[in-house]
């Protein structure tokens, strides 16, 4: 699918193990280099270490929440190329607006259709 030499690196940030399992499967199927973080702190650490191409970010996390992580990433110009897709059960308009305001590239509410999710992931990664 991609001519690139190394596969795109995707970081999944979610604290629901079963959701992580499904996302991990989907991303691996699409050929990405998949990593998982289950808490905010872990996500921060992995973002710094791996500089992923894409972060699938849940909002309701133990410790640092998704909004905070998004803000933190966007405040650092070095990570301008890091794409962020907010993936959350928080579906209120205010939450969506807040996500975009903080610099998310896409916002997908749970539960999601796997096809829609994959299409959105590809679209976001194409922009890079």
């Amino acid at each position: 699918m991609s001519n690139r030499t190394r596969p795109r690196r995707v970081l999944i940030v979610d604290d629901e193990p079963n959701i992580v399992i499904s996302l991990e499967f989907l991303m691996q199927q699409a050929g990405y280099d998949v990593h998982v973080a289950r808490t905010g702190e872990e996500a921060v650490e992995l973002i710094q270490r791996l500089e992923p191409d894409l972060v699938l970010l849940d909002i309701m996390l133990p410790g640092i929440d998704g909004f905070e992580i998004c803000r933190w990433v966007r405040e650092n110009p070095a990570w301008d190329k890091v794409k962020i897709i907010m993936l959350t059960a928080k579906g209120r308009d205010v939450d969506i607006a807040k996500g975009f305001a903080l610099g998310a590239d896409a916002y997908i509410t749970k539960p999601f259709s796997t096809k829609d999710l994959m299409a959105e992931v590809e679209r976001v990664l194409e922009q890079a």
Binding site: E16, I21, R38, G63, A89, K110, F112, T114
Partner: protein, 919 residues
């Protein structure tokens, strides 16, 4: 050699200037730019205290007694320090009560007594007439001296024909001045601006004139103070004046004269007029307190030098030391200065005469004649329409009468007495007012009877010990009782009453009259009871600074009248225009549009009485009001009743205040409740949002897994089984969540169905343990259950209790490291269940939070526990509903223990307490 016509012309010219200044002063008021609203003018107008006595007499006294002239000025200086309290209070009282004179003040204080008012007036007139005579005498002598110079042996003053006597013309002109500028308004409380300005001007003139003579003598004739004193010291009879001398009573005399002048500065009618009635602003007092004493110092600096110079220069039995001030410039040939000095003396005399007659005429008209008029049928207001003109006529006639009386006195007594001794007799007379006034403004117990008795006895003693013997000595009364005592009774000799000898006559008289006065005032006050009005006036005066505003005090009055009656009365006394204007103003204050709408209540009567008081004095106003008001005499019971009512009103207003406080509190509560509602609304919103989130989470896994399975038929069996397992688990979670949300909603709304029966907790525990066993096994956690053999039953819903135990056990299983213990114990009349784990524990802050909905704790585990966040809140709800309590105890790092207690069901027999039997 000054021609008499020159002197007369200059004097006339000066008086003309005085009229012009007064006229200008009055004009300025009309133009709205008052000259007397100025602390310096006020302080200077108080210097009316310095009369011809000061100007001429001080030098005469200094020339004969040395320091004897000084207490008259030291006293007022000391008193000025107390003005801050005393005079301020008198001014305030007078403004509040529209007091017009010192007689009015005393009458008003003691129940608006016409008797007291007329007595004070009589004492003042009798006491002051000689003082006015003194001024005329000084003018007359100084004029004659100036005219006859260098012949120093003057003809006896009272042999000059009246029509050729300057004193007579000055008297007439002063009467004219006082009439013109002192009776312009009917309302005696209104300020006589022109008059005050003229008096302040005169104060400047007399001071400048005296200082001019002083400087001329000290530095022109001699070489300064040292020169005069050194020359005088060489003469034993003058050196004697430098000290008090050897008299054993010199210090006593000094002290009593100081006290006497302290009273005089307050209670001389003219001082009261200037300091109190003409005061436009209480603050002016502040300046006067130091400026007026400063004036006294200045006018006294050269007294002794001039006196000594006079004694050194002039000698001979014919020389009147009182005239040294005038003689010195004349002898030294400075005619211009002599003329100026004469004008200075004239200004000192005229100032006194003008103010004194205005003050006395107000007293005579308001406190002596008015009550008489009001009590005489023919003159009653209803019979006489033009009262304002009559009042003014009375006042003008009184002025003329008083001035002429003064002149008559001067003609009769002639040169028998020195200026100072005449003045001191007057001082001692007005000192008789002191006990009634000072007592009246600081002691509520002083009564009318006390004031009358004190004043009468003081006055009689004064008369017997001062003016009577002086008249005898002047040859106007027959007899030798001064030396022998009346009927030969020696201890009644007027100058050594009861054998008290050694004091000079004034001191002697002052002492005995004060003993009689103060003694009479105190004793009579303490004997008799106060009438209602006396009591009211007493507190009005004594508590003047405590009254916040007019009309706040309780009105002890009951009577009937009508508005037209009041209006007619006012119109007759103060004139139609003023009465209408005042009533209209009053109506506006009361908030009604016209006078007709006013109520004839006690407040209106009070207002009318005050208005009248400003014109005819408090006592007369009361009599006048009584002609249109049928006043019901108040008994003590009624007074008490009215006071009760007043206190009820006060209590009622307190209640109102309390009510409004309560209302405020209720409002605050409502506001808080509203806030709470808003908060609840917000919480509901949050609840729905959270529930939605919680529902979506398992649904997400289910949908994702289902789609993966659907899209990837090629998946191997293990994967398939794993994914299907996830779908099942998440579906269970979803249904549990839905049930719990429903339960919770029911619990919160009170629609939860309860099936209460006798429940054995042992079976509850066992059931819950059985249904959670797989959880423990999965997580490899050891479960220990400690339950006693016999457990009493509790009254509860069995299924709900199982739900509670299930929640606690599954939580424990989730967080425990490797063991969980369930312990059931009996503690008195409760059963207690503890579920302990050795997990990470819960921090103190979080121990209450976990019982709120959707509060889930990660408790440090890497995996988020699979809960709904509703288990603990629901459990607590259930236990509390069943009459128990659920709580948690935990030390972070050392596990947690969730416990609940439920009351043991009491069997029928155990209910009745032991030992109590109904009979």
């Amino acid at each position: 050699m000054l021609q008499p016509w020159v002197i007369a012309l200059v004097a006339l010219g000066y008086i003309g200037v005085l009229f012009a200044i007064a006229y200008y002063g009055d004009r300025r008021v009309t133009a709205g730019r008052s000259l007397i609203n100025n602390p310096y003018v006020y302080a200077l107008s108080l210097a009316v205290y310095c009369t011809a006595w000061t100007f001429y007499g001080s030098v005469g006294r200094a020339a004969t007694t040395g320091v004897g002239f000084l207490p008259i000025y030291v006293g007022p200086t000391l008193m000025a320090a107390l003005w801050w309290f005393v005079l301020r209070k008198i001014i305030r009282i007078s403004k509040v009560n529209r007091i017009t004179s010192i007689a009015d003040f005393i009458a008003s204080r003691y129940g608006k007594s016409t008797l007291l008012g007329s007595m004070v007036t009589l004492v003042a007139v009798v006491g002051i007439i000689p003082y006015i005579a003194l001024q005329l005498k000084a003018v007359s002598i100084s004029f004659t001296l100036l005219w006859h110079f260098p012949d120093l042996s003057l003809p006896p003053i009272n042999t000059i024909p009246v029509l050729r006597d300057t004193g007579f013309y000055v008297a007439l002109m002063m009467a004219a001045f006082a009439i013109l500028f002192g009776t312009r308004h009917l309302d005696a409380t209104e300020h006589h601006e022109g008059l005050v300005v003229a008096i302040a001007f005169e104060s400047v003139i007399k001071l400048v004139a005296f200082l001019a003579v002083g400087v001329f003598v000290t530095y022109g004739v001699y070489n300064g103070f040292g020169d005069i004193f050194t020359q005088a010291a060489a003469r034993p009879e003058l050196r004697r004046l430098f000290t008090f001398g050897d008299s054993a009573h010199a210090f006593e005399n000094w002290f009593w004269l100081t006290v006497l002048s302290m009273m005089a500065i307050m209670f001389l009618p003219r001082q009261f007029q200037m300091a109190v009635v003409e005061n436009v602003n209480e603050r002016h007092l502040n300046t006067a307190i130091w400026l007026f004493p400063l004036y006294l110092i200045l006018i006294n600096i050269f007294v002794l030098p001039i006196a000594l110079a006079g004694r050194l220069t002039v000698s001979g039995p014919d020389v009147n030391a009182d005239m040294f001030v005038l003689l010195m410039p004349m002898i030294k040939g400075n005619e211009l200065l002599a003329l100026f000095t004469f004008i200075g003396g004239l200004s000192a005399a005229t100032g006194m005469i003008i103010v004194e007659t205005v003050a006395l005429s107000t007293m005579v008209s308001n406190d002596l004649l008015m009550p008489l008029l009001l009590r005489t049928k023919v003159l009653r207001p209803s019979e006489h329409q033009d009262l304002p003109s009559l009042l003014l006529l009375i006042r003008r006639a009184a002025i003329l009468f008083i001035v002429l009386l003064g002149y008559l006195y001067f003609r009769l007594t002639g040169e028998a007495l020195s200026l100072v001794s005449i003045g001191l007799i007057s001082f001692a007379a007005v000192a008789q007012f002191a006990p009634a006034i000072i007592g009246g403004i600081y002691w509520k117990g002083g009564t009318r009877l006390g004031a009358v008795v004190g004043l009468v006895s003081g006055f009689l003693v004064w008369a017997y010990t001062l003016p009577v013997p002086s008249l005898v000595q002047a040859g106007w009364l027959e007899g030798n009782f001064v030396e022998q005592g009346p009927f030969g009774i020696t201890w009644l000799r007027p100058y050594t009453l009861f054998g008290l000898s050694g004091l000079d006559p004034v001191t002697h008289s002052l002492f005995w009259s004060m003993v009689a006065n103060i003694g009479g005032y105190l004793v009579a006050s303490l004997i008799g009871p106060q009438s209602v009005i006396e009591h009211r006036q007493a507190s009005l005066f004594v508590d003047v600074f405590k009254q916040v505003r007019r009309g706040e005090h309780i009105r002890l009055w009951r009577g009937t009248t009508s508005v037209p009656d009041i209006q007619n009365l006012l119109e007759r006394f103060v004139g139609r225009r003023r009465a209408r204007a005042a009533l209209a103003e009053y109506a506006r204050e009361r908030g009604v549009t016209s006078v007709e709408e006013l109520e004839a209540d006690s407040e209106l009567v009070d207002f009318a009485e005050r208005l009248l008081a400003g014109t005819i004095g408090a006592a007369s106003a009361r009599v006048a009001i009584a002609t249109v008001v049928t006043e019901e005499p108040l008994s003590i019971e009624q007074v008490i009743h009215m006071l009760d009512e007043a206190s009820q009103v006060i209590a009622y207003s307190r209640q109102l205040e309390q009510k409004s406080h309560e209302l405020e509190a209720v409002t605050a509560e409502l506001r808080a409740a509203n806030e709470r509602l808003k908060e609840l609304d917000r919480l509901k919103d949050e609840f729905i949002s959270t529930v939605t989130h919680e529902l979506r989470t398992p649904l997400t896994s289910i949908r994702a897994m289902a789609e993966i399975l659907y899209d990837h038929p090629e998946l191997d069996t293990n994967r398939r089984a794993q994914f299907l397992g996830i779908i099942l688990k998440e579906s269970e979670r979803l249904s549990r969540l839905i049930n719990q949300v429903l339960d919770f909603a029911k619990l919160e709304s009170g629609m939860f169905e309860w099936h209460v029966s006798e429940v054995n907790l042992r079976s509850v525990v066992e059931e819950a343990v059985a249904s959670t066993e797989h959880l423990f096994r999965e997580r490899n956690v050891r479960l220990r259950v400690v339950v006693p053999a016999h457990v009493p039953t509790v009254e509860a819903d069995h299924d709900r209790l199982v739900q509670v135990m299930f929640n606690l056990l599954s939580n424990a299983a989730k967080f425990a490291q490797d063991w969980v213990e369930v312990r059931l114990t009996l503690q008195g009349d409760v059963v207690r269940v503890d579920v302990s784990d050795n997990g990470p524990g819960i921090s103190p802050e979080e121990q209450e939070l976990i019982f709120e909905k959707f509060r889930q704790l990660s408790r440090g585990t890497r995996n988020r526990p699979q809960g709904t966040g509703l288990g603990l809140p629901i459990s607590r709800h259930i236990v509390e509903h069943l009459g128990g309590r659920l709580w948690v105890e935990s030390t972070p790092g050392a596990g947690a223990t969730f416990s609940f207690i439920l009351p043991v069901m009491v069997s029928e027999g155990a209910i009745a307490p032991v030992g109590v039997q109904s009979s």
